[in-house]
């Protein structure tokens, strides 16, 4: 098909800045153009272009066989994606809100994640969708789902924090022969501060590699997703008000975890604070703490601490949700405590 690329997907070509959402759209579009075996399934992704408009105009461009509006059946179409992957296709499924990935939990954990190990072969599929709070979405439109899958060997989990990473990571995920759960924070989708000009070339960001967002010497913050930005804000406050120098590591991929990047940074700063938007108990901070304990205990000059959401469902009302979520001020206070330790 040599239809023209829709205007709004040419921003990078024109050298214009894009939002994280637009970067994700570009990644999907370019991968579908590059590789005929890539196709999309999900609810309302065709005519409507997806609840958040990530696939706007894709249907007209790629046609009904590559942009499939599914019944409301997350378990059904994720399972079907697995079958299609067996047959050589590379499906990308959209979960309208990642909170609704739960009906697919069975097929993801029991079938998809175990496929290669069982000898059924690789599982090149991506399950992507919006996550995260701060939008007054209440308990069913705000969750982070990483830790429901983190414990399942065989899956990869990606959670970008910038437009550039989102595009490169999504392309890498689509090209990966393993199943990838790709979380997109809806608060970052259209955040004006995240707009950036992307390289006008076919680049990927390899899975499993963290990024040093900011170098520092006094303590390390390991974080990902929306909390990267709150951590950067906190680091600036700490720098100007306290003279504390904070290093920030953005995990980008949660599974596999870039242990080397974490350990190296901790060996340099000797103090570690983990910040995640997900709830506290069973959050990734626990896994990171034990790895640092195993690999860099002697280098630590203070307790490993964490700033997270509280252990509760995500509440709907603004005041409750603000209290529930970790805020910049929490990061500042925790870092201060740690710096003074």
């Amino acid at each position: 098909m040599d239809r023209e690329t829709p205007e709004h997907l040419l921003k990078t070509k024109r050298g214009e800045p894009v939002t994280m959402l637009e970067a994700i759209s570009e990644a999907l579009f370019e991968e579908m153009t590059r590789d005929d075996s890539v196709f999309l399934m999900g609810e309302d992704i065709g005519v409507y272009g997806g609840a958040f408009k990530v696939t706007r105009d894709f249907l007209a461009h790629f046609g009904e066989n590559r942009v499939i509006d599914t019944p409301i059946a997350e378990g059904g179409f994720t399972g079907a994606a697995a079958g299609a992957a067996h047959m050589g296709l590379r499906p990308v499924v959209e979960i309208q809100f990642m909170d609704f990935i739960s009906p697919a939990y069975d097929v993801i954990t029991n079938y998809i994640a175990t496929s290669n190990y069982r000898g059924a072969g690789p599982m090149p599929l991506v399950i992507r969708g919006p996550v995260g709070g701060g939008n007054r979405g209440g308990p069913f439109h705000s969750q982070n789902v990483e830790m429901a899958f983190f414990h399942t060997p065989g899956l990869k989990i990606v959670y970008p924090s910038t437009a550039k990473d989102a595009k490169g990571l999504l392309k890498a995920s689509i090209r990966d022969d393993n199943p990838v759960i790709f979380e997109e924070h809806k608060g970052l989708y259209r955040a004006p501060a995240l707009r950036e000009v992307l390289p006008d070339e076919d680049y990927i960001v390899p899975l499993g590699q963290a990024r040093t967002v900011r170098e520092g010497t006094d303590l390390t913050i390991v974080t990902y997703g929306a909390m990267v930005h709150k951590s950067v804000d906190a680091a600036e406050t700490l720098e100007s008000e306290d003279g504390v120098s904070v290093e920030i590591i953005d995990l980008r991929t949660l599974l596999p975890l870039d242990e080397d990047a974490i350990v190296q940074s901790v060996k340099k700063t000797n103090k570690l604070l983990v910040v995640h938007e997900d709830t506290r108990t069973g959050g990734i901070a626990g896994e990171i703490a034990i790895r640092v304990s195993e690999k860099a205990f002697e280098w630590l000059d203070g307790p490993i601490l964490r700033v997270t959401a509280i252990d509760a469902p995500v509440p709907y009302s603004g005041s409750l949700e603000d209290y529930f979520l970790p805020q910049t001020d929490d990061v500042v206070k925790a870092a201060r405590y740690l710096a003074a330790y």
């Binding site: 609810e43 309302d44 005519v47 409507y48 609840a51 509006d69 599914t70 019944p71 409301i72 059946a73 997350e74 378990g75 059904g76 909170d99 609704f100 739960s102 009906p103 007054r136 979405g137 209440g138 308990p139 069913f140 439109h141 506290r280 307790p303 601490l305 700033v307 997270t308 509280i310 252990d311 509760a312 469902p313 509440p315 709907y316 009302s317 603004g318 005041s319 409750l320 949700e321 603000d322 209290y323 529930f324 970790p326 001020d329 929490d330 990061v331 206070k333 925790a334 201060r336 405590y337």
Partner: protein, 348 residues
């Protein structure tokens, strides 16, 4: 004219009109509140679907003491919620995320509960509430109570695993449950034909071994009659049944959806099938009500909505600190250790 009143007296016929007008007025008031910036999150209308909720709920046993029938409504069945005793002011409080709302600001819109009055609010994941209602009505059967349950879901929800598992469970266990399929032709932007290959949900009944009937969802009396008959069968031990409401979603999925994927001509045509207008005309044509009586109902429902909304606006939002309670019945979630005056991680 000799329209059937289905055995309803004048007062009851007026009740139905009242419930229709109340639903319409409450939702219109919500739109106004949203424009004024008082609504948190999405706003959903049931425009064109009011009679389905009202007619069905009116056919059931509504009590105030936990002994009546049980309702699980949807976002498009606010009329049923009101008939089951859901307070108008609570409806506004919920949409405004007030601390005084039944869920104390933790949950949105029609997602609230009153087991005494007999309603259980839905959760967002579609299909789940069929499983829940199957269990509620199973308990009615196990305890030999004469109660039944009614659960509403849209056409799109029928694609979920929970819908099938719940309905099949209910059917096999002969749970005294009625499933109301709100077939409004759309699931967000997806037409019903992309959620099911059958043209009527009644075709699905036999697949579960249950009785199913389809009814014009814009005709409040027809809905009332269909559900009353279904309820009698279910209550007498037949087990689960399905009633399909056929009508049309005349607004977007939510306020933020301009529904530009729907032919505007179709929407215009559907405006002629307005359940409130149709019933109003019927009340007058049959001399079941006078113009003055109807105008009085219209004024009264408009006014109670205005008053309730004003009252709700004045009420406080929840205290953020309330986020930590009730996650468990017997435990309190720790406050973030960074929130106190002298932060101490050992207190977390």
């Amino acid at each position: 004219m000799s329209d059937s009143t289905y055995g309803l007296g004048r007062t009851e016929l007026h009740d139905l009109y009242h419930a229709l007008c109340l639903t319409r007025a409450a939702e219109e008031r919500l739109e106004l509140l949203q424009k004024q910036g008082h609504v948190t999150g999405g706003l959903y209308r049931s425009l064109g679907q009011e009679a389905g909720a009202v007619g069905a709920a009116y056919a059931l046993r509504r009590r105030n003491d936990g002994s009546g029938d049980m309702l699980c409504h949807t976002i498009r069945a606010a009329g049923a919620l009101f008939l089951f005793g859901g307070e108008l002011i609570d409806f506004f409080r919920q949409y405004m995320a007030k601390g005084t709302s039944p869920t104390r600001g933790r949950e949105a819109n029609v997602h609230w509960f009153d087991f005494e009055k007999g309603f259980v609010g839905p959760v967002s994941p579609l299909g789940t509430m069929i499983e829940i209602m199957a269990g509620m009505t199973l308990s009615f059967r196990l305890k030999d109570e004469e109660r039944i349950g009614i659960v509403f879901y849209g056409d799109g929800a029928s694609s979920t695993g929970a819908w099938h598992e719940g309905l099949n469970f209910a059917a096999v266990q002969r749970c005294p449950m009625i499933l109301m399929v709100e077939n409004n032709q759309w699931a967000f932007s997806t037409p019903t034909s992309k959620n099911t290959r059958v043209s009527s949900f009644t075709d699905k009944g036999p697949g579960y071994g249950i009785g199913a009937e389809s009814v014009d969802g814009t005709d409040v009396l027809a809905v009332f009659d269909a559900v009353r008959r279904a309820a009698a069968l279910v209550r007498s031990g037949e087990g689960t049944r399905m009633v399909e409401l056929k009508y049309f979603r005349r607004k977007g999925h939510a306020q933020h959806d301009p529904q530009d994927y729907v032919d505007p001509e179709v929407i215009r045509m559907r405006e002629k099938k307005d359940p409130v207008d149709l019933y109003r005309a019927r009340l007058l044509d049959n001399d079941w009500a006078s113009e003055e009586e109807l105008v009085a109902i219209e004024h009264e429902t408009f006014e109670v909505c205005r008053v309730a909304a004003e009252a709700a606006i004045a009420e406080p939002y929840p205290d953020g600190l309330d986020a930590v309670t009730d996650v468990y019945t017997d435990l309190t979630t720790p406050h973030p250790w960074t929130r106190g005056d002298s932060p101490d991680p050992t207190l977390a």
